[in-house]
Every structure is written in structure tokens, then in C-alpha cells.
Point group: D3
């Protein structure tokens, strides 16, 4: 199995909270991450694709095309945005690193399949101390 | 000259804009950084202190004490906060990397002097592609 | 499958040697790592946990709780310590990166299960040039 | 399962192109990577080996021996070299990150087996924004 | 004094050699860096600018404009290029890290002055083990 | 002014303590860094040299020669060693990052002068959160 991974960055605001919970309950579960005035991160996204190596190009997938897909379906929607209020694919979801990673998988899986490759892993780094990985439903 | 540097991190939301400017003017000057719904960063702060090495400790300054000062005067006020609306030392200032760095210098200079050392440099890293440094008024 | 990873650091002394071997034999097998007067490292530990995403929190596991568990069971026991002589879970073991990684798995597996998640991977980085990974007995 | 990973670096020139294609076709597919006058990279190579932990040494594999093998079979052949014209194991292959990773697997698999361990993964980082991984034919 | 630093990357081929020297002499002085078939690097360039903070923007210099200048005058000319044969500002110069840094200063100094700021430092990182800094003629 | 910087690494054990102080006093001042059974670090050393660029080589200093000097005078003496008991140039000194940096300056200044360059800065990184810099007596 061969994989190729492309890294992209985005900077965004978010908060963790459940609207049906009290402020105290939100603070108890999410701590300072539930600050009503938002906070933010430099997110680093690693998109890993697997497939056969194309004999004509030596590529599993053309990284320029992969990068364009990631930019169109993800980066343009989240970079310098508020993940809670401005991103269609996060609507009505808790904006945790895990949920963002799964949502990014869901928007990328189909366009990557059109490159004749398959999405293998989404790795989303929130801070140097934590990251989530999603490998699809298996 | 000997210096010692302590690194601390904070995650915060912000936006760049001037309230007296139109949205179009803000967008022209600040681009997507002026998004009204905020975005954010993992800021990395390097505080560099210079001084004589204390013969009893081998330290220019005790890093545990320096870290406590940075946490009290800076990190506790900015971490998981909105830099535009929640931080006293950024009140009425444009929240650029340069201005944050200068403001951090201003709040740290005096308490660091009480450690018998002097602040030498504030380095504030906003993304892997840009950072500001401030060396005081000289 | 979704995983979440927490990074923690510790600084410790160690040496590689077998007491039943001669100094020459130890030097032959372990090289300068067998120095009787110790040496040390900044170890970086990545603890990866897998599980279902909790619908209430968006988390596989609450990172604050995971961090507390890692600190209680690992970091407090190894940070600024001598791994050969002061750490209960390394008693009578060769202090190689591989063995430390397996031992950390063994102490973390049970408390992490109480968070309704399962330990997926221990990654222990000894230097920028080498690291060990352990995925449990499978 | 336990793995141990060794990192090595090399700096090399290369270009992406197919001699049977026109310059325009090469430019269309490979972009500036097909520059006839070459460009180059600081490649970072991670070689991951899996196996049982040896009770006498605490090692899956002696890293000094692993490093020597990587240097003999890979680094000495590629470091400060032109990957297209000077490297035997890349002869007649498109010099993509994926193909280099697979070729490095092929030259390392057998000598690593003589260390009583098995090659698990080749990870080849071309730039901070992309890397390939190969896990063998499975 | 306030400075702001912008990072940019480029990947290029080069070799160190003097045409008037014999191959043996070149090898003696430059070692494997004189390989006639080239090698290459991922260069990281840090451009540091100093100046007053503009009251209207909070900026020493608009990073978007600075980035455009660096791209026009440097990156477009060196990225995926051969530094010995394809770069006008390196013509007839030994392509050492020091010389590239000084040459980049020379091409950037004037356009940066038009941003009402002054170039303070060029830092050029060739590998993780070495970098050059140039502060102009002072 | 042009500088060139060479990075080297070493892994060593140490502790912070004054023999004439009680254990309690040592613990109060140095905290867990005074652990009698040692701890250790992956130290990263940056040696910066300044000078004129040699017209024949394009170098401020030949990095291969600089690296050999650093290895002979520093790395061979400290790598995989106990900084308190095994290093001649740290004898009778408190093993703080600041003191190690100054001592490294003192052993490197003279041999670097023989390369027709002058030592400009020693930067010693103890952990990702702290480092010392020494610029000589000025």
C-alpha cells in the first residue's frame, strides 16, 4: 500500500458548548474552551490518500489537484472563519477536533474518489499537544 | 551578555479592523483577517530576559518565577480569549501581531525588573509564516 | 475509526546496560548509551486513544481527563527522574525506548478504559532521530 | 506490535519528466517540477521496523546497526546526488516521492530481515507539505 | 524597535565549485557539495523588516505586500530552479548560503524601502543544521 | 555583517544543586531539577560565527571545519555524559543552561579564531520551552 499526504493550514475561531446546557454546565465540561467570546487556533490538516502508483506519472495522485480539492472543499470554507457559525459542513455539530476531522472526511471522500484514489486518513492538529485522526467507517 | 528565553503558548480569537472604516475599506486593507465573525491562532510567545548570572543559582533569572510572571500578566488574560474584546491591555488597540508584542512588553517590563533582570526581547509568533519582535524603545 | 492523541513531555536520566554483563560487553552492545554516570533525554510521549465520538461532547475522550491520567500514572513518576532507579514500572527492565513504551501502555491501558475509550497507540520519541510505537498485544 | 523508527536525511537534486513526452506535456502534468535544469530537496526518511523485543537488549533492532544499513544501502547512494541520473535503484523510474519510497523499501527489506526484524513502513518527506508512505505489498 | 518577519520557502538545485579549480581541488574544499550533477535543498527564507508601527493599520508593514515583493523579486526566480545557472542575481557568484543571503538582501532592500520600512535581516536556512544571516553593511 | 550558524545535538544527564546547601534549600531553589539521581535532556547547540565572506569559497567559515571543532571541543566531551561529574569545562560550576552556554563559548572562542572568523553567539536549547544565548563579554 502506498499513500501520499498533503498538508494544508487554516486559522479559525471556535468554541465548544451545547446551547441547551447552562453556562455552568458548559464550563464544567468544556472549561475555557467554552468561552462565549470565542478563541481560535492554527489548525494543520493532513489529508492522506492511498492508491496504486500511476505508471505514467509516478503519482498515487497529482498533489496539485489534491491541493486544489482540499482548498475548494475545505480551506476556502474554514480559513479565517468562525467554525461554529460560518461553515456549512459544521452546522449543528459540536466543533470538537474529532467532529471537524470526520466532517472534513465526509466532504473530501467523494471528490478524491474522482482522482482515482481513495481517502485513507484525515489528521487534524489543533495544538502541538493534541490531534484527531479519522480513517472512515471501518 | 547572557539571555534566557522562556516560551509560552496561548490560543485566542481576534480580527483586524478599524471601527471608523467601512467594511470595504477594512477588507481592502486587512483582507480575510477582518472577518467580523473572528478567526484565531495558536500564538507562541518567547520572552527573553538579560542580566548577570547569579553566582548562587547559575541563573540570569529563575525560569519558574519568570513563567509565573508571564502566566499572571499575560497568559491568564489572553488564553482562550477574544483579544479584541476581553483583554485589558489591548483595549482600543488594533490587534496586530506587532501591537500585541509591544503591549506584552509593556505589561512584563516592570515585574521582570523586580527579578533583578531586564526584559530584552518579546517575540510573538502568529503563524509559522510570520512573527513580530520588539526590543523596547531604543 | 476516530482517534485522539495527547502529547506530554518529560525529561529523564537513564542508561542502557545489563548488570550481569561486563563493562566491555555492555559497551560493545550499547555503546555510549551504557555510560555508568548516566545521560538523559527530553522524551516526548504521544498517547492515542480510539473510540466512538460522544454525542454530548463531540469527544472520543475528554482531553483534560486524559491528560490528568497520563500525568498521574506516567509523567509524575518519570519527569526529572532516573528511569533506571526511581520508576516502579521500569523496575528490573532494560530502559530502552521500546521497553518504556510498552511499560507506559501497561500502566495506562486500564485507567483509559474507565474513560469509555481504548488505548490505541503509545509513541515515545527519544530523540529527533528515533522513536518507538506500541499498539498492544495483537 | 512494537516498532522502532530511525530518521535519516539526504539532500538531492531531481526532476519529474517523461523523456517520451514533449516539454509542453511534461510542463502540463508536472509543472515546475519538470524544470530541465533540476531542482532539489532536503528529504527526510523515516524507516520503521517491527518485531519482538529482544530480552537481552530491550531492542526490536539495534539502532546503530539499522542506521548503518540505511546509510550503506540508501544515504550513501542518494545524498548530494542527482536522483535521476546517479542512483542505481531509481534507474528508469519516474523520480516521484512515491516511487523513491517504494524503491527504498525494496533495497532495505532484505538487509533488515538479517537483523531478525521486518520492515514495516517507509515514510519519505519531500517538503513540509507532502510525504509518501509505503507499507510493502499487502 | 519593532520588527516583523515573513517566512517563504523555495526548493532549488545547486552545487559549490569554482570553474577555474580542478575537480580534485573542488572536492577537497567543497566535498560532496561540489557534485557536478547537482544536489538540492528545501530552503527556508526569513525576511525581517523593521520600522515604526503605522497607527492606521497596526503594521510595521503589510505582510501581504511584503510577501508579494518577496515572491516577485526572489521566490519566482529561485523556486524549482537551478541556483547556479538560472538565477540572474547569483550570476558569477559561488552559490553558498552566505552569498545567496547577501544577494537576496540586495534585491529586496530597495523595494522594501518603498513600503516605508527598512530591511533588517535576511535569514536563509539551508538544512536543519545550518543557516546564514545577513544584516546589511554595517 | 554576515553570520553562519551550525547546529549540533547532545544528550546528557545533569542536576542543579549546591553542595553546601541542604536538600531542602536545593529543592526550594531548584525544584525537581535538583533530583539527586539526575535527570537529562536532548540539548541543541547553535554556534554562530561572523566574519567576511571568503571570495574563494563563498564561506564565512567552512562548516565542515566548524563542525569538527565543535565536535572535538564540545560534543565529544558532553554527549551521553554526566555534565556535573564528567565534563572538564563544567568542573565546580552550577550546571545551568546559562553556565553551560558561557562555558561552551569559552572553549570555542580560540579555535574558531584560528578559522579567521569570530564567535558571535552560543545558543543552547535545553527544552522546547527554554534556551540561553551568550554573546561574549561586551
Amino acid at each position: 500500500m502506498v499513500t501520499i499526504t498533503r498538508r494544508e493550514n487554516f486559522n479559525a475561531a471556535h468554541r465548544l458548548f451545547r446551547p441547551e446546557w447552562s453556562d455552568d454546565k458548559n464550563m464544567e465540561v468544556f472549561g475555557k474552551c467554552s468561552n462565549p467570546n470565542w478563541h481560535g487556533h492554527n489548525y494543520t490538516l493532513y489529508v492522506t490518500v492511498k492508491g496504486e502508483i500511476d505508471r505514467n506519472t509516478g503519482f498515487v495522485v497529482n498533489l496539485k489537484k489534491l491541493s486544489e480539492i482540499i482548498k475548494t472543499y475545505v480551506i476556502d470554507k474554514v480559513d479565517h472563519k468562525n467554525l461554529n457559525t460560518e461553515v456549512d459542513f459544521m452546522k449543528d455539530k459540536l466543533v470538537s477536533t474529532e467532529n471537524i476531522a470526520v466532517a472534513i472526511w465526509d466532504v473530501l471522500e467523494s471528490p478524491i474518489r474522482e482522482l482515482n484514489a481513495s481517502l485513507f486518513r484525515i489528521k487534524l492538529v489543533e495544538t502541538e499537544n493534541n490531534y484527531a485522526e479519522y480513517f472512515g467507517e471501518k
